[in-house]
Structure formats: C-alpha cells, structure tokens
C-alpha cells in the first residue's frame, strides 16, 4: 500500500500547499515558525471537536452531532463561572466542564433513544436548550479564567503549544481506540450495518450512547480550553466549530457513509483549514473572497480525494 493510497494524505498535501505561499509572505524562517505555531494552536481546537464528531459520523448515515457548538459554549461558560478567576480551582473547573459534556451527551442520547428521532434533529433541538442555558447563566458577563489556566492554554512546552500537545495525545488515544480496541470494532460494525451488528451480538445501544457521550465531552473540553485560551467564554464561541467539526472529518478521509474513520486525517484537515484562512488573509483578500475560496477548496479536495479513492 503506497503512501498516496492513504485517504488522509490529501489533507496533509493540501495543508503543505497552503503553507508554502503563506510562509513566503512572512518574515524569514522566524515568521514561518510563527505560522507553524499558530497553525498548531488553532488546529488543536478543531482536532478536539473533530475527533468526537468523527466517532459519531463513523456510526453511519444520519449520525451527526449538531450540538457541538452549544456544548462548547455551555461548558466554557459554566466552568469559568464556577472558577470565577480564582486560583487553585483549575482541576475542579475542568471537572465541571467535563461533567457538562457528559450531561449534554446524555441528553442528546436520551432524545435519540427515547423519541426515536434522527440524531441530526435530536442534537439540533437539544442544542437550542444548551444554548439557552448558556445565555441564561452567562448574562453577558465575561469572566476571566484563572491566570495559570490562561497561561497554560496560551503557553508552550519545548516550543510546542500546550493545546497542541493535548490534542496530539488525545489523537493518539483515539487512534488506539479505533484501530485496536473492541469499542472501535463495534463502532465500525455499527457504521457499516447497524442491523447486522446488533444481530452479531454487538451491544449497539451501549456503543451509541458511549459515542455521543465522547463527542460531547470532547466538545466540552474544547470549549473549556478555548475559553481559557481566549480569556473568557463568549456566547458565539462555538458557532464556527459546527461546520469545522464536520469538514475536518470528511477532508481528513473518513467515510461519510460510515464504518471507516481516520485519525491522522483530522490533524491534516485541521491544519489545512487554518492555513487556508491565513493564506487568504495574508494576501489581503476580503471576507467575501475568503469564504468563497474556502468553500471552493473544500469541494475541490473532496472531489479529487474521493475520485482517487474510487480508482484505487
């Protein structure tokens, strides 16, 4: 199997292609390194939500988590409110954020299961509730994160941004989960044919619940880190991550038809999505052109990648 036949290679090639012209505009090697660090930092947030969304999408057509932005916002808001900028509350704050994630994931799954409605509608309806909760608890106040958490989220260890390290470690964990664990096998089986999976003894309900929980917890973690990173939770902080979470999964080479997921591709696609925006920015293009180019490139990549995948 050659490198070119790996479905994730396209995301990295695209990232490299956008990196070169952007880096050329920056000041020398130092500027290029700055760009790398920025890309790693911002891609890390996309990776966090992308990993969770990937598990959900792997369960096959109809499975998608639209509540990611609302969960991010709610987790960021409530955890920062709990910590209230005080020192020594970091661990508890993280626990609050993750608990919010668990609660949102459980809420999503309950709706899917009890109302037997498609996940796209269940997570959408639930996200309205989460968003309202966030608005209600936030009250327009912007609470700052504890200083050391803010430093951690914006800092770096050995030159690599901390958030990128977190996202990197989690990506490895997810890779093991998908490629080596029983859960990963079950997930893929459900994605290929849920009915057959159930008849083969796969605990379908358990796996589906776990997957929606994981996706929400990852969104909550991302919301927590992002609000520490940007000095407070904002009500619209999750908005752009809905499209991003889906885009990185698909550009990264996971099959939207289910059953087939791809962890390395999530990183490649996240880097690419950041780099393309910064490339268009650094060439001084307006918001309109930037959006159009982003869209055209996403479509082009998917068209090229899926064409070559079919040929192989």
């Amino acid at each position: 199997m050659t490198l070119l036949s790996k479905p994730w290679i396209w995301a990295y090639l695209a990232a490299a292609l956008t990196f070169v012209p952007t880096a050329m505009l920056s000041q020398g090697v130092g500027g290029a390194w700055e760009l790398v660090l920025a890309a790693l930092t911002f891609a890390a947030f996309s990776v966090l939500v992308g990993l969770g969304q990937m598990l959900v999408i792997t369960m096959g057509p109809g499975n998608i988590d639209l509540s990611i932005p609302a969960t991010m916002t709610l987790a960021g808001t409530l955890s920062l409110k709990y910590m209230d900028g005080a020192a020594g509350t970091g661990a508890a704050g993280l626990a609050v954020a993750l608990a919010v994630g668990l609660a949102c994931g459980a809420g999503n799954y309950l709706l899917i299961r009890l109302l037997r409605i498609p996940p796209i509608i269940a997570t959408l309806a639930a996200s309205f509730l989460y968003q309202s909760l966030a608005i209600w608890s936030n009250r327009g106040l912007r609470i700052k994160p504890p200083a050391w958490l803010a430093d951690f989220a914006t800092g770096a260890a050995l030159g690599v941004p901390n958030v990128a390290v977190v996202a990197g470690l989690l990506a490895v964990l997810f890779w093991v989960l998908l490629e080596r664990s029983v859960y990963g096998r079950w997930l893929s089986a459900i994605g290929q044919n849920q009915r057959a999976a159930r008849l083969a003894g796969v605990p379908v309900d358990l796996v589906r619940m776990a997957t929606y929980l994981i996706s929400a917890v990852m969104a909550a973690l991302c919301g927590f880190l992002l609000s520490c990173f940007s000095g407070g939770a904002a009500l619209n902080m999750g908005a752009e991550y809905l499209l991003i979470s889906i885009a990185v999964v698909v550009i990264g080479g996971s099959s939207i038809a289910g059953g087939n997921s791809n962890v390395p591709g999530i990183w490649g696609a996240s880097l690419f999505l950041f780099l393309i925006v910064s490339m268009l920015n650094s060439y001084g293009l307006g918001a309109g052109v930037r959006l159009i180019m982003t869209g055209v490139i996403i479509i082009a990549i998917v068209a090229v990648a899926s064409g070559s995948r079919r040929a192989s």
Partner: protein, 307 residues
C-alpha cells in the same frame, strides 16, 4: 387500500400548537392575528420544500440558509437595479444547484460536505454583494407579499398553493414519481435504463428553484436584506421536513407535510414572542417545542401501532 397516515401527525401537531396559541391569546383568532402569527411562513415553507427535494434523493443540504441569504441579497440589489442581470444571476444559481447534484452523483461525493462547502461560497458571494444590511425589494414582490386577499391571509393562501403545487409535482406526476424512485432505490432506477445523474441534477435544480423563491419572498417581507438574513433556515428547513413526516433515507417525503412542518415551526416562533418569554429562553423554548412535537408524534405512532 392501505393509506399512508404519515400526513396525520403533522396536521395534529399544527392544530395542537394553534389551539395553544389561541388559548393563550384569544385575540390571535382573527385575520390580523393569523397574519401576524404566520408572517414569515412563506419563505420558511419554500426553503423547507427546497430541502425536501434534496432529502428526497437521500442527501442533506447544509447550504439552504446561506443560499436563501444570497438570493435575498441579489433580490434586494441586482433585481431592483438591473432586473435582467438579476434574473440571470438567479437562473445561474439554479443551474449551479443542478450541476452540484450531477457532480455529487457522478463522482459519488458526500452531499453533506459539498453543500457545506457551498454554504461558504454562497455566504462569500452574499458578503460581496451586500457587505452591510441594505437594499430594497422590487415593488412587485413587496406588493405580492403584503397583499391582503379577502377572508384568508396571504401567508395561508400562499402556503396552500405551495403545498398543492409541490404535491402534484412530487406525488402525482410521472416525473416526481421517478425522482422519489431515485431516493427509494437508485440502483434499480439506474438498472432500468434511466440516467440517474440527470435525475439528481433535476432534484437539485428544483431545490435551487424553491430556494430562489424563498429568498425572493423573504425580502418581500423584510424590505431589506443582509448576508446573514436566513442563516437559521438550514436547520429550520431540515426540522420542517422531518416534522412533516419525511425521513432522511428511502425517498420518503411528503410535500404537504413539509409545508405543515414549516408552518408549525413558524408558529412556534410567534407563539414564544406572544408569551413575552425572556429572550434568554427564546431559542431554548423553540428547541423544547420541537422536542415536544416529536414526542407527541412518537406517542401517536405508538397508539396507532397498538390499535
């Protein structure tokens, strides 16, 4: 004959919500009140029908909202200033939709991602056309959307008309049946010698057409446009199709149901402003109503299964 009772549930949901509205606010039971309640129903219904054509061929369109916004921007600018160019742009947009359908099928692309990409494109174009809110609708659209027919408000007349036309097109015509066949079993349609790429292009083209109508009618109601005017339509339209008894797979859709689903969602929005609910909870309550309606649908379906 085993009749499909799919349509019964959306009708009941709408009736229930309407009863709740009238109970809370009896004064709404008037020409004026109903007009107010269903004020934005027409563009939402048209956008829902647009989404339905995509769901009918087993895809989902994530660009409905930005597309309707884009059309609104074109309608409020080009269509007023240079009607010929404006019309050409809108026709071109429909052709782009059709081409996307063909591309998605011919290359077996995931529709979710392609339409996701297109949502960036339409959004970008809309920002280029109208960087700041503004523009004005052509007079004839304004006149049409604000006209007051006798006895029944315009929103209701238009909704009935939309439902009737799309029902004939999708459920009755030979062509619509073929399109539903693509959703039901594309393989056997292809095996019977049909060009499925063309059929998908047709379904997407129809979605584009109804998206254009949605954008035009929206500007007629709001009198101005901006690039973000209809972003929430993507999710509203999907929810409307599902509330109307449609399913994501198998080409199972109901145009009448979709229009009723759209009316239900519009009504839910108006109902909340009637209740003078704190703005914090507006969105949440809309979600809660969506959940309630779906729960009611489940209970009704169970009851029917038991009977």
């Amino acid at each position: 004959m085993r009749r499909d009772p799919r349509i019964l549930l959306p009708v009941l949901s709408l009736a229930l919500l309407l009863a709740a509205v009238f109970w809370v606010q009896p004064r709404a039971m008037s020409y004026f009140g109903i007009n107010l309640l269903f004020n934005l129903a027409v563009p939402i219904a048209l956008a829902t029908i647009a989404q339905m054509f995509i769901i009918m061929v087993e895809d989902v369109d994530l660009s409905t909202g930005t597309f309707v916004s884009f059309v609104a921007c074109v309608t409020a600018t080009f269509l007023v200033e240079t009607p010929l160019l404006g019309s050409a742009i809108l026709v071109g947009a429909i052709l782009v939709y059709a081409a996307l359908g063909a591309l998605i099928h011919a290359r077996q692309l995931p529709a979710i991602v392609v339409t996701l990409g297109m949502s960036f494109v339409w959004g970008g174009l809309a920002v280029l056309i109208l960087p700041a809110p503004g523009g004005a609708p052509p007079d004839w659209i304004r006149w049409l959307m604000t006209s007051k027919p006798p006895l029944v408000p315009m929103a209701i007349v238009a909704s009935v008309l939309i439902a009737a036309v799309t029902h004939l097109l999708v459920m009755r015509s030979a062509f619509g049946t073929l399109l539903r066949g693509v959703g039901g079993n594309a393989r056997s349609v292809a095996r019977a010698g049909w060009n499925v790429t063309w059929l998908k292009a047709a379904a997407y083209g129809l979605a584009g057409l109804f998206g254009v109508l949605a954008g035009m009618s929206l500007v007629g109601l709001t009198t101005s446009a901006d690039a973000n005017i209809a972003l929430r339509y993507t999710l509203l339209a999907i929810a409307g199709v599902i509330l109307g008894g449609g399913e994501f797979t198998g080409g199972r859709v109901s145009p009448v149901g979709a229009v009723i689903g759209a009316l239900t969602l519009t009504l839910a929005g108006s109902f909340l402003s009637f209740l003078k609910l704190s703005p914090d909870w507006q969105i949440g309550a809309q979600g809660a109503i969506l959940i309630l309606v779906l729960a009611a649908r489940l209970i009704l379906r169970r009851g029917r299964a038991a009977a």
